[in-house]
């Protein structure tokens, strides 16, 4: 009870600061007289798409049956075939007995469709997932090479890690797309995934190396002393222990990867960020869209953090 009595002033202080910052931001926005148009945003998540139903052949409308919202239109084509459509009653363009030509509109149907923000989010997610997968494999191999006894392997790994960590990701993406992509005729998606994987792989390699080196030397000695070979020792003894320790930094790296994937929008991959930019060009709702885009990134990364947190708790059973 003592603890709660002492923490409430700090909770109040936190609330005051947050409200203060919000109010100040609000005040600043009010000064520049920005027109908020939040109502323009939802349609970029989901929208109702209207599709025209057109007859593929000439013919005559035999029946139009209205049953509430939808109507069933039957058409007898010239070749004797019977065609049928379900369209919305309000959008009917035909009446019974009417002669139709191929390509004429019978009526309209509407469906809920995913908007560009959702497609962008999907692109960001699969791009990050595929890149994470390759980064993990690349990082694991490079990390093992970093602690290898072979000089050449160690050297190769070190050169790779240094080159990647010493240059900006944006420049790497440009090199991947405009240089490698042109030379080897690669698609923008391959270039984007390649650049992200190589970039994250170098960081994963350092995490893996640190993890392996953090496992006590006695562990591999005990394993080797039982006759297990280098690979068995790595796989059964060292890596499982290292993995448990590197899970937090590793997940941090993958969360970074999701955020860094926004940079592939510069090579015209329509990820969440590029989708946001495209929406702004047609709505001019700059503030709203960027805030929504940021919130979507935040949502994804916090969900991932929660999953990792859960996994960490599961793995700590043997401690």
């Amino acid at each position: 009870m003592n603890a709660t009595e002492k923490t409430w002033p700090w909770v109040v202080l936190l609330a005051v600061i947050l409200i203060g910052v919000s109010a100040a931001t609000w005040g600043a926005i009010a000064k520049i007289d920005y027109q908020w148009r939040w109502y323009r945003v939802p349609q970029y998540f989901f929208y109702l798409a209207e599709e025209a139903e057109k007859t593929p052949a000439d013919g005559r409308v035999t029946t139009v049956v209205r049953n509430g919202k939808n109507s069933t239109v039957t058409l007898a084509a010239e070749n004797g075939e019977k065609l049928q459509w379900q369209v919305e009653s309000g959008s009917l363009r035909v009446a019974e007995g009417e002669e139709m030509f191929a390509g004429d509109t019978i009526g309209f149907t509407s469906h809920w469709r995913l908007g560009p923000l959702m497609y962008g989010l999907w692109t960001t997610l699969w791009l990050s997932a595929v890149s994470s997968f390759f980064a993990l494999i690349l990082g694991l191999i490079t990390g093992l090479a970093r602690v290898s006894k072979n000089f050449t392997l160690r050297g190769l790994a070190a050169v790779y890690v240094e080159c990647i960590r010493g240059t900006p990701l944006l420049v790497q993406i440009f090199i991947a797309y405009f240089f490698l992509g042109t030379v080897f005729n690669l698609s923008r998606n391959v270039c984007g995934i390649g650049a992200l994987s190589l970039f994250a792989g170098a960081y994963v390699a350092e995490i893996v190396r640190a993890g392996i080196q953090s496992v006590a030397k006695g562990q591999s000695e005990a394993s080797r002393s039982l006759g297990m070979n280098v690979f068995q020792t790595m796989w059964d003894i060292v890596l499982p222990q290292a993995f448990k320790r590197i899970l937090p930094p590793l997940s941090g790296q993958f969360i970074s990867l999701i955020k860094d994937s926004s940079l592939v929008s510069v090579i015209a991959i329509t990820d969440l960020t590029k989708a946001g930019r495209e929406i702004i060009t047609s709505t001019f709702a700059t503030f709203e869209v960027w805030l929504v885009v940021a919130a979507m990134y935040l949502l994804v990364t916090s969900l991932l953090s929660q999953v990792v947190y859960y996994m960490e708790r599961r793995f700590s059973i043997s401690d």
Partner: protein, 244 residues
């Protein structure tokens, strides 16, 4: 069983090379218990680690059951499977249960089925007196229990020789006895053992032969009676005066 000839190990030290093990020669017969004692830094642990190839040696030969470790064609994994090792820090695998600690190498190296390996593991846990701990993780065990599991883990491979590297040095005093009891039982059963230890009582009671090392060299070799009652070398006398 084990034949060491002029085994020499040189570490590149900061102040020039250090001869950690200097021309050590000895024979260990089948069923013999050899205790190696000496002050810290005398090279006894390094010598022991050379026997199962955890350390490479610079010069000399170690021949186990007719196979020379100095020969580059020797498969060290096969040698290590035949030579059990017990460490000062137990080195149990913390992410595996006691049972898994005992079965892993049996399955991977000896290619035993899970069932056979688990039966073997359970009977060894009975032997070291902790059959009820099979499902526990090592962190739940006391130091003495962990070291007994480590002994059982080494025995699960049916080794021809057991090496002990100061097996009781990291234990609380009240747990030393339970580990030494297991080792005494092993010695009575005829296991070939090389033991590096500071437990003089154990050496006196169990050893067939005592090797006293100092500064990487074998200073004195003899039966326990000879060594503890009437050592020849001055260095050995001084050491005994300090520890007894």
């Amino acid at each position: 069983m084990i034949k060491a000839v002029n085994v020499t190990k040189i570490f590149p030290g900061r102040l020039g090379p250090i001869r950690a093990v200097d021309k050590v020669s000895t024979d260990v017969a089948r069923g013999e218990v050899v205790v190696v004692i000496g002050p810290s830094g005398s090279g006894k642990s390094t010598f022991l680690r050379c026997i199962n190839g955890l350390e490479t040696f610079t010069d000399g030969h170690i021949i186990i059951d007719g196979v020379d470790l100095a020969d580059r064609r020797t498969n060290m994994n096969n040698i290590r499977a035949e030579v059990g090792m017990v460490f000062q820090q137990f080195n149990l695998f913390p992410h595996k249960t006691v049972l898994e600690n005992l079965t892993l190498a049996q399955c991977r190296v000896r290619k035993r089925s899970r069932k056979v390996a688990e039966e073997k593991a359970h009977s060894l846990l009975r032997k070291v007196g902790i059959p009820e701990k099979a499902g526990e993780y090592p962190s739940r065990l006391s130091g003495g229990q962990q070291q007994r599991v480590a002994i059982a883990r080494a025995l699960a491979m049916d080794p021809k020789v057991m090496l002990f590297d100061e097996p009781t040095s990291a234990l609380d005093p009240e747990m030393v006895g339970e580990v030494l009891d297991v080792m005494k039982q092993l010695a009575r059963e005829g296991m070939t053992m090389v033991v590096v230890t500071h437990e003089m009582g154990f050496a006196r009671e169990v050893a067939d032969r005592v090797i006293f090392m100092d500064e990487g060299r074998v200073v004195e070799v003899g039966t326990p009676e000879h060594f503890f009652t009437n050592p020849t070398e001055e260095r050995a006398k001084l050491f005994l005066k300090q520890v007894l």
